[in-house]
Amino acid sequence: MTAFTPALLARLAALIVVGVIVQTAMVSQLPIAGANADLAPLLVMAVGLLCGSLAGAAFGFGVGLFVDDVLLQQLGVSSLVLLGVGYGAGRIREARDPEGTFVPLAVGAAATLTFSVGFSLMQFLLGVDAPVSWALVRDTLTTLVINTLLALPVYAIVRRWLLPNLPSDPRRRRRRAYTTGGLSPLSRS
């Protein structure tokens, strides 16, 4: 489990603020095929994969709360869905410790889909006056494709930002263990 040092908390808080401002001031205003990217689930996915389920859930809750707060949306909806996304991404890391380069891509797609479906379900539960159109499904799928393409760069940026305060980064741990030579099967021969 990742230790929550003050430095790590500060970096996570900065990530929330900068991420949400970049999303609302730039990314939301760049329509691609009628839809736009949504950085929130990708950021939460990246933190979950890097820091574990507890940090992922807490970060998801924080991002969701900040998004709903800034955009004057119904409070609690995004935080509830994103904390699930963060927890899920964290559990993938803890239970499977995935090594593949494209893991963030797959988890990013799953995170976006979970967030879109979860957010829509919450809106249904809260009551929507108008019927739901196919355009909503199309936009959701377009966002899913865009987010999948963005998952790797977002993960790389978040990892680079959090790396100084991640004592148990899996890649660094593996690399260090290999370079010592003691654990390498080649050294036995």
Binding site: T24, A25, L30, P31, L71, L72, Q74, G76, P131
Partner: protein, 297 residues
């Protein structure tokens, strides 16, 4: 056995935090859903927006070159398709212009009869030009944030237009910015009038046809026997029965959209669909009409 106890403790801790966060979310959701617009949580939201608006404004300016770069790529790709549409639109407008020139003389006479000279001069409505500094990323909320607020004379309910047509109303006002709910939001309703191309016009209420579709509006409460057809223009009606007690939120004659299709025409269940003139996905500068009631008497 010791490591097993530590492992159990870790799991318990993880589950406790998860449960706590879920509980917090549900409490927030329930409390916010149940409270009025002036409640504590709404107040916290407004406070946060008040603090963040200048930051969003600054970020919007700083990130504008990046937005423009992406926009240029997108614009170049779609320019070829737009050219074809523009040519068709030009041909249609040419024929409309000929008809309009003939009708203009009649309109001038009518205007002098009812003393409505220059009724649509927007300067009388106190337009404040603002920049879009934030936009909701989800299709469930059709909202934008504009860098004009109470300090500029903006009030809740003020209509907002862009260079093409009406786009929405001000739903929240802060000192230096305001939240605009677009007409494509499911909570938005605009009293409107459709010109059928003949002498009569049809009144109704324009609202979102469905959640998540920014290109489809519906004209509700239009009389079933109204003789409307695809291509008819829809504008704000700007009138109510009792203008003193219930003043209209919108000046009359602001363009909204064009009728695209009518389902079940002539029946009680007819649905008049229209496409908004404004492209809600590409809003950059907008104008807030701070005096929708028009010039002071």
């Amino acid at each position: 056995m010791r490591w097993l106890a530590v492992y159990d403790k870790t799991i318990r801790r993880r589950r406790a935090v998860l449960g706590l966060l879920v509980a917090c979310s549900l409490i927030l959701l329930t409390a916010y859903f149940g409270e009025s617009g002036g409640g504590m949580l709404h107040g916290v939201q407004r406070g946060t927006s008040e603090v963040l608006s200048p930051i969003q404004d600054g970020a919007s300016r700083v990130l504008k070159p990046a937005r423009d770069l992406f926009g240029w790529f997108g614009g170049t790709l779609s320019a070829r398709g737009d050219l074809k549409d523009a040519r068709a639109e030009r041909d249609r407008l040419r024929s409309e212009l000929l008809a309009a020139q003939g009708a203009e003389r009649e309109v001038q006479q009518l205007r002098s009869m009812v003393e409505l000279n220059g009724a649509l001069g927007l300067k009388d409505y106190g337009p404040e030009t603002g920049r879009v500094i934030a936009q909701s990323p989800t299709v469930w909320y059709a909202t934008i944030r504009v860098n004009k607020g109470a300090d500029d004379g903006v009030r809740k309910g003020n209509p907002v237009i862009n260079e093409e047509a009406l786009i929405g109303t001000v739903s929240e006002v802060f000192s230096g910015s305001s939240q605009v709910t677009l007409i494509t939001d499911t909570t938005s309703h605009v009293s409107a009038r459709a010109f059928s191309g003949r002498r009569d016009s049809v009144f109704g209420v324009v609202s979102a046809a469905s959640a998540g579709n920014p290109n489809d509006l519906v004209l509700e409460f239009a009389a079933p026997r109204a003789r409307l057809s695809a291509g008819d223009r829809v504008v704000t009606s700007g009138t109510v029965d009792d203008a003193e007690r219930l003043p209209s939120l919108f000046p009359p004659g602001l363009p909204i959209g064009e009728i695209t299709r009518i389902e079940n025409p002539g029946t009680d269940t007819q649905e008049v669909h229209l496409r908004p003139f404004a492209d809600m996905k590409r809003l950059n500068f907008v104008q807030i009409l701070t005096r929708p009631e028009g010039p002071a008497e």
